[in-house]
């Protein structure tokens, strides 16, 4: 593997990312899966970096999950998206930052479509006007929230309390980055580093002291794939996808997985448990799973936030062994403390699907 070769490609895929005044839109499912992540993003942006991040209370789903699940037609999706843009325009913002990768993919796709087919855009404008009376401007800058964190990775690194380094050995942690499919596979030029060798998460890992692991199945889908998971009969396929990835990364003995998509951390995390239940296999060291984090959680950890504030207790794979490796200072007793009361969560209750 020649890193210069990759750097040459990365240099070709650099995108413009606005540096302040963001209109931030949350993801439908992340708020349920790992709600701490979006909170952490806002905290980092506002408190650590002092940026202006606006959230609109009237923001809805982008309908991307329905679009990719084959139940929402594209024109409907476009009109829903147009409404989000109208909210941004009304709030006086121009830099649109979605939290969700599928949203990001859908926005990119719609903007590209409008670019090539202005008549479609015109039609959508008319429909939006007719339905809601709203009008919108096309965002000046569209960046995924992970792009924004990538942009400020050095600033975050400068403030870091912890590095992605094994405290005992001094070795960098081996980190697998998993990029959501809709990030750049459809429009490689819209992703940092392109589609084949995305750099957006790799850049953070490098900056924060970790070592990026490139493993054969890095391109493969996490297994969520909307229809694959949503229909129970297809779940065997969903879990097989995740398994393929785990088996491919296992020989590299990764310390953690970092992701930038709502579904990926959920499925890479939960399917490890299910595979263990079904086949008794684990993929991490010492019979444990490989902990899976979102990039906001990792950024929060680097900045020294309380892991339980970041919502790490919501993960199926325990984060404690990793925290020990980093030498993190935290109170393990407070893992299940909600409003001062400790609630033990039965892991099975999470999976009674």
């Amino acid at each position: 593997m020649k890193i210069e070769g990759k750097r040459a490609i990365w240099s070709e895929y650099q995108k413009e990312i606005a540096d302040d005044r963001y209109f931030y839109v949350r993801s439908c499912i992340r708020q349920n899966f790992f709600p701490g992540s979006e909170v952490a993003f806002l905290r980092i942006m506002r408190e650590e970096l002092g940026k202006d991040v606006y959230e609109h209370p009237c923001h809805t789903t982008c309908s991307g999950i329905g679009y990719h699940g084959d139940v929402v037609p594209v024109e409907t999706a476009m009109t829903v998206v147009a409404r989000q843009f109208a909210l941004m325009t009304e709030a006086g913002y121009k830099n649109y930052v979605p939290s969700c990768i599928t949203s990001f993919g859908l926005y990119t796709e719609i903007l590209e479509t409008w670019h090539h087919f202005p008549e479609v855009e015109g039609k959508v404008r008319k429909q939006l006007k007719k339905a809601t009376g709203r009008e919108f401007e096309i965002p000046e800058n569209l960046a995924h929230a992970s792009d924004v964190i990538y942009k400020f990775r050095k600033e975050i690194g400068a403030k870091a309390k912890y590095k992605l380094v094994n405290k005992n050995t001094g070795e960098p942690l081996k980190v697998v980055d998993h990029i959501g499919c809709h990030y750049s596979k459809m429009f490689p030029l819209k992703g940092v580093g392109g589609a084949e060798y995305p750099y957006v998460l790799a850049g953070m890992i490098e900056e924060w002291g970790g070592q990026v692991i490139d493993y054969p199945e890095r391109r493969h889908c996490c297994g969520f794939g909307f229809r694959q998971y949503l229909v129970q009969a297809n779940r065997g396929f969903s879990i097989a996808c995740s398994k393929q990835k785990f088996e491919s990364m296992q020989p590299y003995k990764p310390d953690m997985i970092i992701t930038n998509c709502p579904g990926c951390p959920m499925f890479l995390d939960r399917w490890q448990y299910v595979i263990n239940e079904m086949e008794g296999k684990t993929y991490g060291c010492n019979g444990e799973g490989i902990p899976v984090f979102t990039y906001e959680e990792v950024a929060g950890l680097v900045l020294g936030y309380d892991p339980w504030d970041l919502g790490l207790q919501m993960h199926q794979i325990d984060c404690e062994p990793l925290l020990e490796k980093i030498g993190y200072e935290y109170d393990p007793e407070k893992k299940y403390e909600i409003n001062g009361t400790v609630t033990k969560i039965n892991s099975h209750s999470l999976l009674n699907i």
Partner: protein, 341 residues
């Protein structure tokens, strides 16, 4: 006659055209961007279909242009070409000028830059090489991996940069299939224990003796042909290349570990040709090669009277076709002057 003709490009087509024009009595200047003449011929060790050394063809061409009527100007790139009342003024990159009564464009082709097919990891994975890199190994009589080991399994990917909408090349480069078969045999000759797999979309064995070599490759050399283009390459922890393709004839995806992957880089309009096309207003086709005045009976004729094409600057060709094409230029040039006088 004493007409002066500038031939741009001293590859196979340029040298052949220059030689034949000189034989026909013209004063010829042969301009070459590199220091040496021969063009891509210098990059190949043995040629298909008869495995003759490329140096033999080179010797023939050298002999052809080594005469009084031909002035070889190497290390020079023509950047501008202007037609002033039937006299052509050519300007080099360095700024010097020359004039000509007619111009033969023989700017040839560039090999497709394989790094553009990012999924193959050329320039990223150690043992992903191109057909031309492999030819260099043949010249040294040694096929080795970066770490010095001998490869046990070698894959060959056809159509890299050809017939590929994603890189904007819709055409077939015509020579890669037969090159792949030739190189596969050469690998087996040098390394009898090595297994070779050709991943092809179609076997385009259109030339004389091509199909026979294909059969020989199967029958005598045991080369495995798998219909399905490699779609992604990654590296295993043991530094082996893992390729994924669909075996379309089995109707199933397939993965395999290889030690070496050879990319059959296709042909593209040369950079020199593109510059010239822009500055002189020469028309190019959808495939970005020069567009001939007529596909059937004017393939050497350009849209500018007095400017002629020879060889692969118009389309992918093998050496035999290139030489024929270059020779045909002479008759078009003769007709041109006959009609003017």
């Amino acid at each position: 006659m004493n007409k002066h003709i500038v031939v741009i490009g001293a590859g196979v087509a340029g040298m052949e055209a220059a030689g034949q024009l000189s034989n026909a009595g013209f004063n010829v200047s042969l301009v070459e961007k590199d220091e040496n003449t021969g063009g891509h011929l210098n990059g190949w060790y043995k040629l298909f279909p008869d495995r003759r050394r490329s140096s033999e063809v080179k010797d023939y061409l050298d002999k052809l242009i080594n005469k009084d009527g031909i002035k070889v100007i190497s290390g020079t790139t023509i950047e501008k070409l202007v037609n002033i009342n039937g006299i052509f003024s050519l300007e080099t990159r360095e700024g010097t000028e020359m004039t000509a009564d007619a111009v033969v464009v023989a700017t040839g082709f560039d090999l497709f830059k394989s790094s553009r097919k990012e999924e193959y990891g050329y320039g990223i994975y150690d043992n992903v090489i191109t057909s031309s890199d492999l030819e260099e190994m043949f010249r040294k009589d040694k096929i080795v991996l970066v770490d010095g080991r001998v490869p046990e399994n070698v894959g060959i990917v056809h159509c890299v940069g050809s017939r590929d909408e994603k890189v904007g090349n819709l055409y077939c480069s015509k020579l890669c299939c037969i090159t792949a078969v030739k190189q596969a045999i050469e690998i087996r000759e040098l390394l009898p224990e090595t297994r070779v797999f050709c991943f092809y979309m179609d076997m385009r064995m259109g030339g004389a003796h091509y199909e026979e070599i294909y059969r020989e490759a199967q029958e005598e050399w045991g080369i495995n042909f798998i219909r399905g283009k490699v779609s992604e390459v990654s590296e295993s922890i043991r530094k082996k290349l893992i390729i994924k393709a669909e075996d379309t004839l089995a109707g199933r995806p397939l993965k395999m570990e290889l030690d070496m992957l050879v990319l059959m880089a296709g042909m593209e309009m040369s950079e020199g040709g593109r510059i010239l096309a822009k500055s002189a207003g020469l028309e190019t086709g959808e495939n970005r090669f020069f567009a001939s005045a007529d596909n059937h009976f004017g393939s050497n004729i350009s849209n500018i009277p007095g400017v002629f094409y020879a060889g692969t600057c118009t389309a992918p060709m093998n050496i035999t076709e290139t030489i024929s094409h270059a020779r045909a230029t002479v008759s078009d040039v003769l007709n041109y002057f006959k009609n003017r006088s």
